[in-house]
Symmetry: C2
Subunit: 306 residues, 2 copies
């Protein structure tokens, strides 16, 4: 009988060793760093951490595709810088406005419909839209070593959450199939909703108003709100994940902060300090100072996509 390596897509070396050591240390009974199953919470950013986020956020492409359909009914959008940029499909301009601009575009493009209708639109789009460079479905651009890590953690009694700047209503329709992560373990940015009875059915209608921007300092806020516990593993790839890693790694017990470093232009992308989206600048310094694990996509992963 051969032993199957649960992290076979991670190359042997210090990175892999540290992950294995942490997981075993927190889960083997009698270990000095043992953690009760109830406290085994691992949080993962999504864009750039679990799947590709270049040349721009996937959800932005979805929102831009939708917003042009709706534009005729919303002449007022011309007066808003972020929405105007969306109508012009001006990606650099949108990117320059950061997560708040993206969140505004997303909220506007999803407004007025029910969460169920939105989920249906997302499903239709995600099953057909293709990435501009790789010409594959976005769900085929999941980082496979990360999928192995998620499964490995779950097999060791961890609950695995997505904590993303992306929209919760955009991720929930497919996160279960793709990551095995159920809707209640997906935390993300959200629009306000309102309850209505429509044709005898109670529904939630999306409003064009931001409720939570689950990015940067908003990530610990989202985690506290949805999870109600401090995670002990946090995995991200950008400055927008820094506070989440700070939160996870400044509790009382053992903890592990992980940054995925995009340094593989051939197989994926190479970017950090000056990226238009997914910038990793201050976070790299913080990683060194706090001894977070920095994963090199190029050196530590022998696979990227399926």
């Amino acid at each position: 009988m051969t032993q199957v390596d649960p992290l076979s897509m991670w190359n042997a070396g210090a990175t892999k060793d540290r992950i294995l050591k942490f997981v075993l240390g927190t889960t083997v009974t009698g270990s000095g760093t043992y953690v009760l199953p109830s406290d085994r919470v691992a949080v993962f950013d999504n864009d750039g951490t679990l799947w590709v986020e270049q040349p721009y956020y996937t959800q932005l492409r979805f929102a831009l595709d939708r917003i042009r359909v709706l534009a005729a009914d919303h002449p007022e959008w011309q007066n808003d810088p972020a929405l105007k940029a969306a109508l012009d499909n001006d990606i650099p301009d949108i990117a320059a406005q950061g997560m708040p601009g993206v969140a505004k575009i997303v909220a506007a493009s999803h407004a007025g419909i029910t969460t169920e209708e939105l989920a249906q639109a997302v499903r239709g789009w995600i099953e057909s839209a293709r990435h501009p460079r790789f010409k594959r479905l976005y769900t085929e651009l999941i980082f496979q070593p990360q999928l192995q890590l998620i499964v490995f953690l779950r097999e060791h009694g961890y609950r695995t959450y997505i904590v993303s700047g992306g929209g919760v209503e955009f991720m929930r329709p497919w996160a279960q199939d793709v990551y095995g992560i159920p809707p209640e373990q997906v935390v993300g940015s959200s629009a306000k909703t309102v309850f209505e009875m429509r044709n005898g059915r109670g529904v939630l209608v999306q409003l064009p108003e931001i409720d939570l921007i689950d990015d940067g300092p908003g990530k610990p806020v989202g985690i506290n709100k949805y999870v109600g516990r401090r995670p002990i593993i946090a995995v991200g790839n950008s400055d927008g994940d820094m506070e989440m890693l700070q939160y996870a790694t400044t509790g009382d017990g053992p903890s592990l902060g992980i940054y995925i470093h995009h340094d593989d232009a051939d197989r994926e992308y190479a970017y950090d300090r000056h990226a238009v989206c997914g910038e990793l600048d201050k976070g790299l310094e913080e990683a060194a100072e706090r001894n977070w694990l920095v994963v090199s996509m190029q050196n530590d992963w022998n696979h990227i996509f399926s």
Copy 2:
């Protein structure tokens, strides 16, 4: 070997039969009303549904006890009707301001401290404060038949959530011990929080600003946000639970809406249409129209407290 009745505190009769029939119908493989485990979500209101809410909400007592300690630092509270009533300990005036007034008092009384400090204050209070009539700890005033129902549902693969107008930070510190419900399955009203580093530790600080009022039409909003699925069982006791029951019982599959009717002045309290808190008026008509199950505390329960 004797068969143990998992709902022994529920009297034999139509109410108990309907509950048993629904749970078995949704969980026995091959049943025409079978529901996949992933969709077995049951939501319970807390105040008046799982524990006593008279003569006024338990959390309000906690907040009033705290607010007087903090009053000296907040002369501006005298200018706010709800906070003024709180400082005067004027319960009828507070009650007249409804859930928004209570939420405001609660938010003010919890502000400025971290969620961890608040949890500690809650634990200290809940372990010592006593109910004015029953002279027992509030956690001893849990309705035991409901506890049986929660356990019975969990044993049949249901995930049991609290969805309460009460504060999420007030319930999470003890819900696991008392109900077996973990923090991530407690949905409630909340204040805004902000992430800070304090003495090298990442913490969430409570702001004196309301984030969500998880009551009335806010309950389906909270459920969609935290759970991301439509529940198929919803249990409440007041008009503030009506939209939650509407949401749960207007989906595609089988569903069960339950109202607990407080009609037992001897053992607990009797109130409905004209109650100062926990009013059940419009909901009673809605229950008749939508065939929700109305539980009589007097007739259907042979125990109330432990």
